[in-house]
Symmetry: C2
Subunit: 465 residues, 2 copies
Amino acid sequence: MFPSESVNPMPAEKLNLQQLAEQLEFLVEQGRSEDVRLLIADERPEDVAEALLELESSAIRLVLTWVDAETASQLVQNIDDDYWNELLTPLARQRLVEILEELPSDDAADLLTELDDEISGQILEEQSGNEEFRHVTALLQYPEDTAGALMNPDIVYVQETLNTDEALNMIRRNIESFKDINYIFITNGEARLTGVLPLPILISSGREALLREIMLTDVIAVDVFADQDEVVDTVRKYELTTLPVIDSHQHLMGIITIDDVLDVIEEQSDEDVYKMAGLGEDPEAQGSAFKSALARIPWLLLCLGGSMVAGKIIHIFEPTLERLLVLASFMPAVMGMAGNSGLQTSTLMIRNLVTGPSLRDHLWQLIRREMGVALVIGSVCGLCAGIMAQVLFEGGIVGLVVGLSMFISILFSTCLGIVLPLLLDKTGIDPAVASGPLIATLNDSTAITIYLGLGTLMLVFFTKI
Amino acid sequence: MFPSESVNPMPAEKLNLQQLAEQLEFLVEQGRSEDVRLLIADERPEDVAEALLELESSAIRLVLTWVDAETASQLVQNIDDDYWNELLTPLARQRLVEILEELPSDDAADLLTELDDEISGQILEEQSGNEEFRHVTALLQYPEDTAGALMNPDIVYVQETLNTDEALNMIRRNIESFKDINYIFITNGEARLTGVLPLPILISSGREALLREIMLTDVIAVDVFADQDEVVDTVRKYELTTLPVIDSHQHLMGIITIDDVLDVIEEQSDEDVYKMAGLGEDPEAQGSAFKSALARIPWLLLCLGGSMVAGKIIHIFEPTLERLLVLASFMPAVMGMAGNSGLQTSTLMIRNLVTGPSLRDHLWQLIRREMGVALVIGSVCGLCAGIMAQVLFEGGIVGLVVGLSMFISILFSTCLGIVLPLLLDKTGIDPAVASGPLIATLNDSTAITIYLGLGTLMLVFFTKI
C-alpha cells in the first residue's frame, strides 16, 4: 500500500472509498462472496467499514455474514454504534454470538446494550455458561455512563517485585495483549494498583532495577463508579491516553483508552446541540416516532404555555390594537429580535458556566461585554426596524414605537440571558436544559408588554396634544 | 501523594483544589513568594493551574513571575488558551520571552497567536536571532487551522537502517525527547517517512533485526497543509494517539498528539453550539463589545428582515383582524410552535448530514420518523392550543382556527426542517449556519399565512351561514 497512497491518505482515500464502495456493492449484487473476502483482506478495516455505510443495510449484513467472525467484529467496531441496532438486530443469532465473542469485552457489552432488549436478553441467557461472555456480563452490571461501563477489563498488569528484565520478558511473551499499550500498570501483592511505568522509561532503566523503585507512584485513576464526565475531565486535564479504573480498595479493574473517551466527547457534543433544541439527551435512540414525540412534548407544551402568556398580554392590550391595528404587524419582529439576542447572550453564559474551569475575572468581563453588545445591537436593530416600519408600512408614531421598544426589549432580554443561567447554575439545575423555554417565554412576554405598553402610552400622549 | 489521595483523585481533588486555591491566595496576598514556590513544587502543575483560575488575574500574574520559567510554562500550558491573552499580555516582556522559550514549539506558537498582535510582533522581531524561536517562527508560517499549525516539530526520528538494539540505545540516550512517545517514526536516507514501530513490538523483536524489516509500512499521515478537520477525522477513524505530519515529498515535518486533537474537538463542539445561536465561529475571541456586535449584526438583520416579511403578511390580513381581533393573541403561539418543531427536525437532519459518515438507509428512516413525530406533536399541541384558546379566551371559532392551523403549520415546518438542510448540503453551503434564520423566516411567514388565512376562510364561511 505504501508509499504513495497511504502516507497521504486524504486525497487518495476519498477516491478509494468511493471505488471500494462501488466494488463492494457490485460484488454483493453478484453474490461473489469469495471476491468480497479477498477485497476486504487487502484493505484497512476502518476504510471497509466506512465504504460499507454506502451500501444498503441488507447488503452490509450479507458482507458481515460472508467474512470470518474476526473480520466481521473489526468491521462492527468501526461502524458508529448509533447504527448497530438497526443494522445488526436482523443478523442471524449464530453470527451475532460469533461477533460478540470476537469483540473486546467493552465493545461487546456496548453492542448488547444497543441491541433490542429482547434479543440481548436471549443471547445472555443462552451464553450464560460461555467463558468468553464472563467479562461482558460483569461489565453490564455497571450503570450506564460510569467508568465501569466504559472500561476494558482485559488488562495485563505486572507485579512491583519484578525487575526491568523480567517485565520486558513478560511483554515479549504477551505481545498480543501489550500491542497497543504504552504504559505498564504495576500492582502489589494484594493486586492493588501502586504504580505506572511508561515504556520508554522501562526501556532506559537498568536491567536489574526493581519496578517498585523506578515506577511512578503518583498514578491518576478513577473509581469504577465515577461518572463518565469525570473520566473525560480527568483525561483532558492530565492529557492521558490511558486511564486506569480502580475499585474502592484500589484494585485495578480495567483501563479506559482514549478512543472510548473520544466517543463520550462526541456524544456530549451532540447532547449540547440537542439540548438547545429541546430534543432530550439522545433523540436518535428514542426509537419509534411515537416515543420520540412523547420525549419532546413536555418541552413543547412548556413553550406553548409560555406563548399563551404572551397571548394573554396581547389580549389585554386589545383596546390599543383596535385603535392602531398596524401595531400587530410588528409583534413578530419585536419578539423575534428580543428572543435572538437573549439566546446569543444565554448561549455564551451557559458555555462559560458549563465547560471546564474558567478564569474568575472572565465571567465579569463577558457580562460587561454582552451589555455593550446589547447597546450596539439594540441601537442598530431598533433604528433599522423603526425605519423599515416607517417606510414599508404607514407612517405615524408606529416607527418610533417599534424602534424604541425593540431597543428596550433587546437590552432587557440580554439581562435575562445573563441572569437566568447564573440563577439556574446556582440552584444546581442544568442551565442548558432549562434556559430555552424559560428565557423564550419571559422574553416574549416582556417584549410584547414593552411594545404594546409603549404603543398605548404614545396613543394617549399624541391624542392629548 | 500516593496512595489515598491521588489514586482516587476526584473526591479528594475537589477539596484539595479549593484548599490549594485558598492557600495560594493567602500566600500571594502576604507576598510570600518563597512559600508559593514551595507549595507549587509539591503539587501537580495541572492542579495548580486549575486552582490559580480561582484567583484574580493580577494574583495569577504575580505567581507566574515568582516561580521559575519552566514551572511558569507548565502552568501556562495547563490554562485554557482562551484566557492567555487577557492573562499574559500584561506580563513583563522579559518573563513572557522566558515562558515562550520553555514552552514546546507548538504551544509557543499558539501563545504568540493568542497575544495582542503588537506584542507578539515585537517579541518575534527582538528574538529573531534567538535559536529557541527558530521552530516557533517556522510554525507561524502555516495557515491557522492546518495540520502544520497544530503539529509539534520537535521530533526525533530513527533511520530504517538501524537494528533493534541500536534503536533501543538511541531511546536510552534521548530519554527526555522520547519520554511521552509510544511509536518511533522511521525514515529512509532521504529523511522520508517510511515506517512506524510501536514500542512493544520494538521490545519484543530480535536484537539484531533491522528496523526496515520489522517496521509497519502502512503509515497513516496527513499533509502539513491539511485542514484540522481532516486531522480530527483521521485520528478518530484510525484511533491514533499520534499522527505524523508530512510535506508533499513525504518528509516527516512533525507529529500531532492526541491532546492537540482534543483541543480542536472541543473548539468544534463550541462552534456547533455558537452556529445555532448565530454567534459566528469564535465569539469569545471577537474582542471588544463593538466588534462582537458587528459580527452578530448581519445574522440579526437577516432575522429582522424575515420577521418584517411576516409583518407584511399580517398587514395584508388586517381586515380579518379588524373583525376578529382576538386572533392576534394566538399569533405568538402558532408561530412559536411551528418554529420549535422546525428547529428540532432541522437540528437532527443537520447532525446527520454534518457529522461523520452515516448509514445510507439511516437518513430515510430519520425522515420517516420525523414525519410521524410531526403528526403526533401536531395533533397533541394543536388540540391543547385549541382547548386553551377556547377556555382561556372567548370561544367562537377561534379555538378551531388556532388548533387546526397549529397542526398544519407544525407539519409544514417539519417538512421545511427536512428539505432545507438537504438542499443546503447539496449546494455546499454549511446547513448549520444557513438553516437558522432561513428556516425561522419561512416558518414564521407560512405559519402566519396558514393561521390568518384559515381565520379569514372561517369568517367567510360562518358569516354565510
